[in-house]
C-alpha cells in the first residue's frame, strides 16, 4: 500500500500518525491487506452477504420514557465543561 493511502485512511479515522509510527503501521497494514487478498481466490459470488448475525425478526421498543437519569453524572464525566455544556475548542 502506498503511504499516501495510509494517511488518507488515517485521516478518515481521525488518527494522527507520527513518521516512525506511520512506517511501522504501513508495513503491518500492507501485510494484512495482502493477506486479505487471499479472499480473491474463493468464489462466493452467488451467496448473499451475512450482515446481521442473529435476529431474524423485527425488534422495536415501546415509545416510553425511562426515568433513570444519569445526566448529571455524564456532565461531570466530561473532560472540560462550562456549566452544563461540554466544551471543545471552537470549531470556527
Amino acid at each position: 500500500m502506498q503511504k499516501e493511502e495510509l494517511f488518507v485512511t488515517a485521516s478518515l479515522a481521525r488518527l494522527e500518525l507520527d513518521e516512525k509510527e506511520a512506517e511501522k503501521l504501513n508495513e503491518a497494514v500492507t501485510g494484512m491487506i495482502e493477506y486479505f487478498s487471499l479472499m480473491d481466490k474463493i468464489d462466493v459470488d452467488d451467496l448473499p452477504p451475512t450482515t446481521h448475525a442473529a435476529a431474524k425478526v423485527n425488534r422495536t421498543r415501546k415509545d416510553l420514557p425511562s426515568d433513570i437519569s444519569l445526566a448529571d453524572k455524564m456532565v461531570e464525566n466530561a473532560p472540560e465543561k462550562e456549566g452544563r455544556f461540554i466544551t471543545v475548542p471552537n470549531v470556527l
Binding site: 450482515t51 442473529a54 420514557p65 437519569s69 462550562e82 456549566g83 461540554i86
Partner: protein, 487 residues
C-alpha cells in the same frame, strides 16, 4: 427577481433550473429514536441524555416503534414503494456533536423509495413532485460557538429524523417556497412532525443546478443553513444568478456545498471540511433489519388521514365554499376537523365557514389559542349558532357569547341564562321600552312623519341601548313603524 434577472444585457440565454430538496423532519415521539430519553425541545443543556445517546462505551441502540410507525405513515402519504426489508446503516464521520462519530441512518434499503406528492404552485397549477426516498436516521447534538470554545449540548442527539429526498423537479425558488408550505401542512396533518423551520424541527437543504435548455441537469451545488421557506427561496434565486453569471463568463461550476448567509443574503462556499468525505456506509450490526408485514402496513394505513390539498378540493365542492375560504379552513387539520364537526351537526356550511373564519379566528388569535385546545368545542359553537338561528339572541349578542365561551370556558346556554341575554321580541317589555323612547323623541317623530326615514335607525339604537342589547333589531323596527303609523 424573476427570469429577467437570469439574463444580462448581452447574453439573452435563459437557463433551465433544476432543484431537488433534502428535507429533514423531526418526528413527534415521546422518546428519542434509540433510547428512552425524552424527545423535547428547549430544556437546559445535557439534561435529556443517557449513556445510549451520549455514545458511552458498551451501550446499544434500541429502535423506537413510534418513530418507525410515523416514518411508514409518511412513506404511505408520499406514495413510496416500501423496501421489503429496511436496513439501518452506519454513516461514518467525526464531529463533536455526533457522539458515536457515526450516524445510524438508512442507505441501501431505506423505508421508502420512488414516491411522489402533489403540490399546488403559486399560480394555482398542480404539480407532481417525485420523491427519491424517505429514510429514518438520528439527529446530532447542537453546538454554540462562543469565543475560544464551542459549547456542546446533546439534548437533540438521537431525535428521530426522517429525511425525504425529492428528485430535481422544481424549477424556481417560488415553486420550492410554496411546496415547502404545502409539505409542512401535510406533515402537520399527519401528526408526524410540527414542521417548525425556525426551531429546526423541519430543515431543508437544496441542490441546485442550471443548464442550457434541453441539456439536462447541470453540475449541482448544495445549499445548507436554510431556516425558513422564504430563505430557501432567496438562496435559490441568489444561486441561480451566481451560477448563470459563472457560466456566461466561461467559469466552471464547482460541485460543492455552500452555506446561505442570512444577513448578507448570499451563499458562501463552505471551507472544505477535511478531505473529501467518504462515509463508509455499512449495515448497522446492532439493529436487525425491519420487515414491514402486510398487517403492519394496513394498521399504519388506518392513520393515513385525508391530505390537505384533497380536503381543500372537497371543501370547495362539498360545502360550496370559495377557494380562499376552503384554503383557510383546511390550513390546519384541527381547524378543518372542527369545521366539519360543526357542519355535521346540521349547521349551514356557509354560516359555519363565516364564523370559523371570522369571529372564531379573531378571538382565538387574540387569546393566542389553538382551535383544538381552546374551550370552544364544536358542540358549543353548534349550540350557539342554533340559538342565534332560532332568533333567541341577536348577532351582536352571539359574538359576545362566543367571546365568553372562549375566555370563561363555559357553555353558551349558561352564559345566556346568567346574563339574561335572550332577545326581547314581542314582549310587553320591548313595547314599553319603545314607548318610552318614542315619548322622548318628538323631534325625530316629526321628521319621520314628514317622510324622512333617517331617524328610524337612531330610534332603534336607543331601544337597543335601553334593552341592554337584547332587543331583536328586526322586531324593534317593525314595532316602531307600527307605533308611528298608529300615532
Amino acid at each position: 427577481m424573476d427570469k429577467q434577472d437570469k439574463t444580462d444585457k448581452k447574453d439573452k440565454t435563459v437557463f433551465e433550473t433544476f432543484i431537488g430538496l433534502e428535507i429533514h423532519i423531526q418526528l413527534i415521539t415521546q422518546t428519542k429514536i434509540f433510547c428512552g430519553c425524552r424527545n423535547s425541545f428547549g430544556d437546559p443543556p445535557n439534561t435529556n441524555v443517557c449513556p445510549v445517546c451520549m455514545g458511552y462505551p458498551g451501550v446499544l441502540p434500541v429502535l423506537n416503534e413510534e418513530a418507525v410507525r410515523k416514518s411508514y405513515l409518511m412513506c404511505l402519504a408520499l406514495n413510496c414503494t416500501l423496501s421489503e426489508k429496511a436496513v439501518f446503516d452506519r454513516k461514518n464521520y467525526f464531529y463533536p456533536d455526533l457522539p458515536k462519530n457515526y450516524q445510524i441512518s438508512q442507505f441501501e434499503h431505506p423505508f421508502g423509495i420512488n414516491g411522489y406528492v402533489e403540490t399546488t404552485l403559486p399560480d394555482g397549477q398542480a404539480k407532481r413532485i417525485r420523491i427519491h426516498e424517505a429514510h429514518l436516521e438520528e439527529d446530532a447534538g447542537k453546538m454554540i460557538h462562543e469565543g475560544a470554545v464551542s459549547l456542546c449540548d446533546f439534548n437533540r442527539t438521537g431525535t428521530p429524523l426522517l429525511e425525504i429526498v425529492t428528485e430535481p423537479d422544481f424549477k424556481s425558488g417560488e415553486e420550492v417556497e410554496s411546496f415547502l408550505q404545502d409539505f409542512r401542512r401535510m406533515i402537520r396533518y399527519l401528526g408526524v412532525s410540527d414542521g417548525n423551520m425556525e426551531e429546526g424541527s423541519m430543515r431543508c437543504d437544496a441542490n441546485i443546478s442550471i443548464n442550457y435548455p434541453g441539456k439536462g441537469l447541470g453540475r449541482k451545488v448544495e445549499i445548507k443553513n436554510l431556516n425558513s421557506s422564504r430563505h430557501v427561496k432567496l438562496a435559490i434565486q441568489h444561486e441561480e444568478i451566481r451560477q448563470a453569471k459563472m457560466i456566461r463568463s466561461g467559469e466552471t461550476i464547482i460541485q460543492e456545498t455552500r452555506l446561505w448567509n442570512e444577513e448578507k443574503k448570499r451563499t458562501e462556499s463552505m471551507r472544505s471540511k477535511e478531505d473529501a468525505n467518504d462515509y463508509r456506509y455499512f449495515p448497522e450490526p446492532d439493529l436487525p433489519p425491519f420487515i414491514p408485514t402486510a398487517s403492519f402496513i394496513d394498521e399504519i394505513r388506518e392513520n393515513l388521514v385525508e391530505l390537505p390539498h384533497l380536503r381543500r378540493k372537497r371543501f370547495i365542492t362539498e360545502y360550496n365554499l370559495p377557494s380562499e375560504t376552503a384554503e383557510f379552513l383546511t390550513d390546519e387539520k384541527g381547524r378543518a376537523d372542527f369545521y366539519e364537526s360543526v357542519c355535521k351537526e346540521g349547521t349551514d356550511p356557509q354560516t359555519a365557514a363565516s364564523w370559523v373564519k371570522g369571529d372564531v379566528a379573531k378571538v382565538l388569535n387574540r387569546e393566542k389559542m389553538d382551535i383544538t385546545s381552546s374551550p370552544l368545542t364544536a358542540e358549543r359553537l353548534v349550540s350557539l349558532l342554533k340559538i342565534l338561528d332560532e332568533g333567541k339572541i341577536n348577532g351582536q349578542t352571539a359574538k359576545k357569547v362566543l367571546d365568553m365561551i372562549i375566555t370563561e370556558n363555559r357553555d353558551p346556554v349558561s352564559i345566556i341564562t346568567e346574563h339574561s341575554l335572550e332577545q326581547l321580541d314581542n314582549s310587553d317589555e320591548l313595547s314599553s321600552i319603545i314607548d318610552s323612547v318614542l315619548a322622548q323623541s318628538s323631534a325625530a317623530l316629526e321628521q319621520i312623519k314628514s317622510g324622512d326615514m333617517k331617524p328610524v335607525g337612531f330610534l332603534i339604537g336607543q331601544v337597543m341601548k335601553l334593552s341592554g342589547g337584547k332587543a331583536d333589531p328586526k322586531k324593534t323596527k317593525e314595532m316602531i313603524m307600527e307605533k308611528i303609523s298608529a300615532l
